[in-house]
């Protein structure tokens, strides 16, 4: 019976082809984060202004956490956008935190000066915070709601408009399971 044979052949070949297609179409470098909708890992970071910032102390506020490095072109591409977005909301119940990783203090400071960045920034010298957030491609941004839960993750350069939208969602506690993706640079 040709139909039966056709169905059997198709039922064997189709899943194999689908598997191959999936394998070839996906970005082999991309690591999906298991952190979305989970509590954000607590950390304390020494900021460039000498003070210490503790994430736990920001409960009740929506947090935009951005990992960057001065040597990473996509981080430079988004820097001005982030600062302008921050200036619009700095008086509201939100906090921006920048975490420089795999960077020297001098270069990181020069970066902040160059882009005139005014939101709190610190350096993760040991890489502990970066690993805690499963960072692998920078810039990498996390949105944390008032309860300290990660609501959205974006790998790569992010636009100011998206930051504003996702922060507004974080304020309401809305979680986006789908990760965002922009142009990124792998960490070293």
């Amino acid at each position: 019976m040709p139909w039966r044979r056709l169905i059997i052949t198709a039922s064997i070949i189709a899943p194999l082809l689908a598997l191959f297609a999936y394998g070839f179409m996906r970005d082999a470098r991309y690591i999906h984060s298991p952190l979305i909708a989970k509590p954000a890992a607590p950390f304390a970071i020494e900021l460039f202004d000498g003070t210490t910032l503790n994430l736990e102390s920001l409960r009740g506020k929506a947090v935009f956490l951005n990992f960057w490095a001065s040597w990473c072109p996509p981080c430079r591409a988004e820097a001005r956008d982030l600062e302008s977005a921050w200036r619009k909301v700095k008086d509201q119940n939100v906090v921006y935190i920048g975490v420089a990783l795999q960077d020297t203090e001098e270069n990181a400071r020069a970066f902040l000066r160059e882009f005139d960045i005014t939101y709190p920034n610190g350096r993760d010298a040991s890489g502990r915070i970066s690993v805690d957030y499963g960072v692998w491609g920078i810039p990498e941004s996390f949105f944390i709601d008032a309860q300290g839960r990660i609501t959205y993750k974006h790998t790569g350069a992010i636009r100011a408009g998206l930051v504003e939208t996702k922060l507004a969602e974080a304020i309401k506690g809305i979680v986006t399971a789908q990760e965002g993706k922009g142009e990124y640079q792998q960490v070293r």
Binding site: S33, E183, Q186
Partner: protein, 547 residues
């Protein structure tokens, strides 16, 4: 039971071995790091990767072990951050267990299928030899050949009716087999074997029918009708309900093909996976994508070296090969762009830079190339400015960044030629802005002059061996002695000032191609190089023969 134990041992043994307690912290850290995937490099473990990230991850592993965490707890920590992707060996629970068991399940199914086929063939052989009813084959054949046979009622579900229906199926199958044989679909041997199998089944069926109590004559008579009308419409089926039989050689060929395919896939697939050589590289290569990572990287390097030595022919060849293997390699496109720009093909160069930028929109080299071609070659200041401004934003502070700032300052706000270019652009008549002299051929090499050759007079910035020629003059079929003058109009990239200490060389090129270098070309250089613009009597003798 023993089989199950063996299977579990195969699955768990490597894990048990890996989980064995290491004698000290360093060994334990290394053993554990070897099980974690480096997030930067792929295909390398955290233990083997030299990357900064892997170093930091190793430090965390050590720290957590030191704090008294078990290896499982440390692995769970990394899994909670990066997902199960971070484990080089999938877990032996949940979906991970499926990955471990699937190959064994597939193997077992394969063996069972193979055994089933072997048994089927063996049964077919033995069946051929037996005819179970009284009267033997003759009765079977006469029953098969009978024109009018008893037909059961379609709603009758008695055992006799079932057997009668089966008998009709076998008759139809036999008719189809004979038709197939006559139309050449079966060999004689296959036909005989298949026919005798059906006949055997038919014999068994007749025997079972004989054993059943006879039906009433009226009932039987009522159901009688010509065999060829509805029975012909009975779907051709084998007695076991499967579709068309495969011939033995088909199955053997199919099996061998699958085996070879599996082996080839196993060998080539493992060979085709490799660590990525660059940001844009993939982990597949060789037969999978036709690219060899190591080979592409080496070719790219070769091209860059040739470019640095200004051996453009070799560089083009290398970059072309890279692009044949990886059509989206942005670095190769960008270098091709620079070569084209230097050869005066602004449009081609722009296209090459655009190709590079289509793949990597923030690729600094391509942005620089595009910006400079738009600015200097096309004098499209409005187009050049945003490109260079984007590049400026991407570049960290340093010499390169200063250079971009300088160029941006040079670009006029709107229209008109570049400030710097207009300041230095000389008129053709201005002899103070040219270099002139006479070119002759050494007496010993006069017989080596090719009448069809082209003369290239090349000016390069002194000390800038790695840079492109500043200016080139091409003269077809020259006759010697030849007076020349080289000026701003010969500059390769429009807008570049024809100034500074310059080295002048000449080449009488046999194939007239500026980028290839072949034996038999005549070469010469000005013995008092470098010269300044405005120099006269820069006389050159073609006194070297390229080997």
């Amino acid at each position: 039971m023993l089989r199950r134990a063996l299977l579990l041992a195969i699955v768990f043994l490597p894990r048990l071995a890996a989980g064995a307690v290491a004698p000290d912290l360093e060994d334990q850290t290394r053993a554990l790091a070897a099980e974690l995937r480096c997030v930067v490099c792929q295909n390398l473990s955290v233990a083997d990767s030299p990357s900064e990230m892997a170093q930091q991850m190793r430090a965390i592993v050590r720290e957590q072990l030191q704090a008294g965490k078990t290896p499982e707890q440390v692995k769970d920590f990394f899994v909670s951050k990066y997902g199960e992707w971070v484990l080089l060996k999938p877990k032996t629970s949940g979906i991970g267990l499926l990955l471990w068991l699937l190959p064994y399940v597939a193997l077992t199914l394969g063996v069972i299928t193979a055994l089933w086929f072997v048994r089927r063939w063996a049964r077919r052989k033995t069946l051929t030899a037996q005819i179970p009813i009284a009267g033997g084959m003759e009765r079977v054949r006469s029953e098969i050949a009978r024109e009018h046979v008893e037909q059961p009622d379609s709603e009758d579900t008695s055992p006799r009716a079932e057997l009668l229906r089966e008998r009709e199926r076998l008759r139809a199958e036999l008719r189809e087999l004979e038709f197939d044989f006559q139309s050449g679909k079966h060999s004689e041997a296959d036909f005989m074997a298949l026919r005798s199998e059906i006949e055997n089944k038919f014999g068994t069926l007749i025997e079972r029918l004989d054993r059943l109590p006879a039906e009433s004559g009226a009932h039987a008579a009522k159901e009688k009708r010509p065999a060829h009308t509805p029975a012909n419409k009975t779907p051709a089926k084998t007695s076991d309900g499967s579709g068309r039989r495969f011939r033995r050689w088909q199955l053997a060929a199919g099996g061998s093909f699958l085996l070879l395919f599996g082996l080839a896939l196993g060998v080539f697939l493992t060979q085709s996976l490799r660590p990525r050589m660059s940001e844009e590289d993939t982990i597949t290569g060789d037969f999978m994508t036709g690219t060899s990572g190591a080979a592409t990287a080496a070719l790219l390097q070769q091209g860059k070296q040739a470019y640095a030595k200004q051996d453009f022919a070799k560089a083009i060849e290398a970059f072309k090969l890279v692009l044949a293997q990886e059509p989206n390699q942005p670095e190769a496109h960008a270098y091709m762009g620079f070569i084209l720009a230097q050869a005066g093909h602004g449009d081609g160069a722009l296209m090459a830079f655009e190709k590079a930028l289509a793949v990597a929109p923030s690729f600094p080299m391509a942005l620089w190339g595009k910006g400079m071609v738009l600015y200097r070659d096309k004098q499209d200041y409005a187009g050049a400015r945003p490109v260079l401004e984007k590049l400026l934003q991407l570049m960290p502070p340093g010499e390169e960044r200063n250079e971009i700032t300088k160029v941006l300052a040079e670009i006029p706000a709107s229209g008109g030629p570049p400030q710097k270019a207009s300041a230095v652009a000389p008129t053709a008549a201005n002899s103070a802005q040219t270099i002139s002299g006479k070119i002759t051929v050494d007496a010993k090499l006069k017989d080596k002059i090719d009448n069809q050759a082209t003369l290239f007079i090349i000016a390069r910035p002194a000390g800038g061996a790695a840079g492109p020629p500043l200016a080139v003059k091409k003269i077809d079929k020259p006759s010697f002695p030849l007076s020349y003058s080289l000026g701003h109009e010969n500059v390769m990239m429009q807008g570049t000032p024809f100034a500074g200490p310059i080295n002048i060389t000449v080449r009488l090129d046999k194939d007239s191609n500026a980028v290839t270098r072949e034996a038999g070309n005549l070469l010469g250089d000005y013995k008092k190089n470098p010269v300044t613009v405005g120099s006269q009597n820069v006389d050159i003798i073609l006194d070297q023969l390229a080997q």
